[in-house]
Amino acid sequence: MSVRHFGKPVVRNEDRRLLTGEALFVDDVHLDGMLHAAFLRSDHAHARVLEIDVSGARAHEGVAAVFTAEDLGDYWQPGPLLVSPPPIERLEFHQATQVPLARDKIRHVGEPIAVVVARTRYEAEDAVALIDVDLEPLDAVVDVEGALVENAPRIHEHLSSNLAAHVIQEKGDYQAVRDRATLLLSRRFLYDRGVSASMETRGVVADWSAKSGELTVWDTTQAPIPIRNGLAGMLGLSESQVRVIAPFVGGGFGPKIMMFYPEEVLIPWIAMRLGQPVKWIEDRQESFFATTQERGQVHDAEIALDENGRILGVHDVFLHDTGAYDPYGLTVPINSQCTLLGPYRVPNYYSEFRVVFTNKPIVSPVRGAGRQHGVFVMERLLDLAARELGMDCSEIRRRNYLSPDDFPHDHEIIYQDFAPLVYDSGDYLPALDKAAAMIGYDTFITDEQPRLRAEGRHVGVGIVSYVEGTGIGPYEGARVSVERNGRVHVATGVGTQGQGHFTSFAQIVAEQLGVEVEDVEVVTGDTGKFHWGTGTFASRGAVVAGNACRAAAAAVRGKVLKLAAQLLDVAEGDLELTGGAVRLMTDPARTLSFGALAIQANPLRGAVKPGMEPGLEATAYFGPERGSTASGVHAMILEVDPETAMVEIRRYVVVHDCGKVINPTIVEGQILGGVAHGIGNAFYEQLAFDANGQLLNASFMDYLVPTATEVPRVESDHVETPSPFNPLGIKGVGEAGAIPTGALFAQALEDALDLPGLEIVEIPLSPNRLFELIREAGTSSGGKRSRDNVE
């Protein structure tokens, strides 16, 4: 192969369309006779529905229809359970999934009660204001601990309490090692909620054609194929009658894979019923209630260490807030439970969690999907233990890393993909060393920090590790074909929300076929083009769909070679693919272009022989038996003003291992985006609910997302331990940037402030909260926190 595409910082194929406004987003879909929908959403977090009067709305000008739960008839059904509980012994799970429109009860602020469809969105919203709802407010359950007390108001009447699940996973015998530990350290850790804040909110447009008997749905979903399959089932159609298109989507981050949102269930049904296309676009404020959120957990954790700072075991009991419903099963808390183990050797582990219903919006994965919590708990325990042992924070990690000989490493518990938590490969020490070298860790501690402290400045360093289970099954597929114009067409089922699939998949295919990356046209997220697959989640697009693209391209390569060998009457082994053509290596003048071959492969006369197929096309699937475990180290130097508690990130370094890198530019972009999310999560973004379940900061005026001034330049580098679980050797990277940021902030802030009483055991922080913590820790300084032990 003459030119290598894999691993190169190729400019993204999709950027021209995105930058020139040619990319289609759901709101760009305009159809003749299209109606617009608006939803009436509950102002109350917990209430009984007594009466809904929509007569005023129905009579409003421009209104085509108004629907309440009652109007849906048999179509009203609770949503599916997306992920059933993993096969863990003694596991308890209570299902309560969301409904299209509230019928008897309201369970969170923003839950939809009625939908109005009108000529314009303005008219629809005006009519929504005319709906009269009589509710009987009930006491709300907001706090996860309060949810489980004996007389707590019950959110789901069919259940005996607000407990959604109870899971224990265990390896070894923690109690036994506890008795011989040199150091036992236990703390309570809090992690609170935020939103994903994707730039594009959700939206659905549906169009039913009675003439063709086909339903077309444009949806911002991360999982177009499961949406198509589910809609067909709900609407009594064949799957082939439904086409779901997830065009360009402005950020997914997890919430857009929730299935099914009420709007996804209702808009297609309404379009069929009215025989007119219907559009609904979520506004920003709706997005704060109607799109899923994440991260409320409370952990009571203990670590046992020997005198050398080696981990003997960890004991963790936590509560996970699933919000009003639990359609996503246990994915998030299982991720927390598993990811806590991190890159470390933890011989004994006891982990128990309870999932709790609360009167808050639904929780489903948001970039990191529970991994943040596990990483935060473990990294904090190690930091606090290092402090007790007079050891450096990087040193305690060094001593506990799994070594390259430990792989594959079985943690002996079950992961979110139902398979045992087995790390495929990794090498953690080089990443730590590289990150430490990049940020100048040792000299910062020995020279720079003392100098800055002498100047009265509060500058600290942090360095943390994490792993990220990525690229899980079940499978994805791709179809690759050489077109008559010589270009290569790739279709795969995953949707794209900014990950650069149009380029990285093209690179994989270009590499196999010897064409230029820009000559490979990729289509994602359109069930009309490819209709097998699951979706874009769990950092799996590149790993699973990417390997499917590779397999399909390899099969096409085989067909190209076979046909060319036949036409040129030479052996396949004498041929090479380059520049969009096949040529004889010994006589490059003897060449056949891909276009000419494509025409020959689809003849108008003669006969396609038995065992042959027309065209230069192949479809292939890839289903990894297990996920691949990515990992990394983040390091940061941060300055705090102890009087205002404002922070300034002076350096931010990420060294990441996502196995073989397809495109370093795209990987860097993913990491930078993740870090921005992580910084928001660590220090700015927190949803504020009052005791009645009212969300008090449902706008970007009050909910602070980091802006360009808060996000520093991120210096990144890679280490590569290829995954043995897939032919390309790649691992996912989509969530990596966001995962360890909270833990990193905590360590760096403690180091910068150097207050003996200051322990950061909660995230998100904020300048306000940090100010309080500083005040609580008192003003005594000089506690000699020791970074002395650097080896």
């Binding site: 102002d43 109350h44 407010p137 704060f288 504020a688 008090l696 900061n697």
Partner: protein, 178 residues
């Protein structure tokens, strides 16, 4: 939210008591009031239009019930306000005490739940706007007491106040307005 404060009226307790129960006075004192009337001995109903920050011209219907009444001394207002931008629900306890120079000291304490869009996007303004609007309403009543018309205030954005029976003002203000 909780609001606790006091206000001195330039008049005796029984006069203040009367004004606080006169819907016409209250309606005038509250800028956003479109309608405010007494529906029975201790019940009032009104319609108001409120703006809080980004929530503009939201209309609310408000019901107020007075309980625990001891004439010229104290009462409790139960407030239930609903509109398309949210709701407010709660109670305010009001106490009137003699004050020097034949004046009246009013102490009030309100506990209100505020929900919906007003709480979600107007939260930052609730407290300060609520307090200042309450004050404004009370001052308007006081001006009335002094035999003057309530002055026109243009400086503060005028969310409407909710109406209230006596402290309806408060509540409303607080509540809805806020």
């Amino acid at each position: 939210m909780e609001i606790e404060s006091e206000f001195v009226f330039d008049g005796p307790r029984d006069t203040v008591w009367r004004l606080l129960h006169d819907p016409a006075v209250l309606a005038k004192a509250l800028p956003g009031t479109r309608r405010f009337e007494r529906t029975s001995e201790d019940q009032y109903e009104g319609e108001m239009e409120v703006s809080v920050g980004p929530v503009t011209a939201a209309s609310f219907s408000v019901k107020i019930e007075l309980t625990d009444k001891v004439s010229s001394e104290r009462f409790t207002m139960l407030v239930d306000g609903r509109g398309n931008a949210g709701f407010t629900k709660g109670a305010a306890r009001v106490q009137l005490l003699d004050h020097e120079l034949d004046r009246t000291l009013m102490r009030y304490r309100a506990e209100l739940q505020v929900g919906g869009r007003i709480a979600a996007v107007g939260q930052r303004l609730l407290d300060s706007v609520g307090k200042s609007m309450t004050r404004q309403g009370l001052e308007a009543i006081n001006h009335h007491l002094q035999g003057r018309e309530p002055p026109r205030r243009a400086l503060i954005p005028r969310p409407a106040a909710l109406a209230l029976g006596a402290i309806l003002l408060l509540l409303l203000l607080l509540a809805v307005l806020l």
